[in-house]
Amino acid sequence: GGIITQTPKFLIGQEGQKLTLKCQQNFNHDTMYWYRQDSGKGLRLIYYSITENDLQKGDLSEGYDASREKKSSFSLTVTSAQKNEMAVFLCASSIAWGGADAEQFFGPGTRLTVL
């Protein structure tokens, strides 16, 4: 088995601040994802990385940057925090990004609060 670790668990920032969320996985999975989930809503894909040197934009990439530092880690930066983006940010990984090996394993999330 493996695990996905997200740090920090809770992140409080000021409006306009640049904030970074980190994700580590020890599954040795190729593909990693960042999602945002607003309260009571479904998940929206921000960025994903199919392999170690890849970076792809999802539906909600504006206002965010991402970095796949190595196979096991994937970071997300909120470039300028806004009050309307208070949400839980979920990191996930999968063996592959499509087909029969796209089962995603999720981390516990980082809850972002913007003051």
Partner: protein
């Protein structure tokens, strides 16, 4: 990438079998069907995936219609722990697109 449509909510009594449907009328031949569930304050958890016909595992079974436009997740003997939001998504192996989570089906279980 096929869009999925699910009922927004369902209710069942403990011990009942629950069937959650998902429509994916534009599903492509390369797409697989995945089901996840999410309980409050946790990330989604994979339940089952399939391409066609019938798939079963220790948690659930998945029936996919012959034309693959409809899938049904079946949960036998639900308990209060099965109360969650259930998401049906499709993945595409080769088109360069990616799976999207919709708003899912919120299952309430009544004691």
């Amino acid at each position: 990438l096929a869009k999925t449509t699910q009922p927004p909510s369902m209710e069942a009594y403990e011990g009942q079998e629950v069937n959650v449907s998902c429509s994916h009328t534009n599903i492509a031949t390369s797409e697989y069907i995945y089901w996840y569930r999410q309980v409050p304050h946790q990330g989604p958890q994979f339940i089952i995936q399939g391409y066609k016909d019938y798939v079963v595992n220790e948690v659930a079974s998945l029936f996919i219609s012959a034309d693959r436009k409809l899938s049904t997740l079946s949960l036998p003997w639900v308990s209060l722990r099965d109360a969650a939001v259930y998401y049906c998504i499709v993945t595409d192996w080769g088109s360069g697109t990616y799976q999207r989570f919709g708003t899912g089906t919120k299952l309430q279980v009544v004691p």
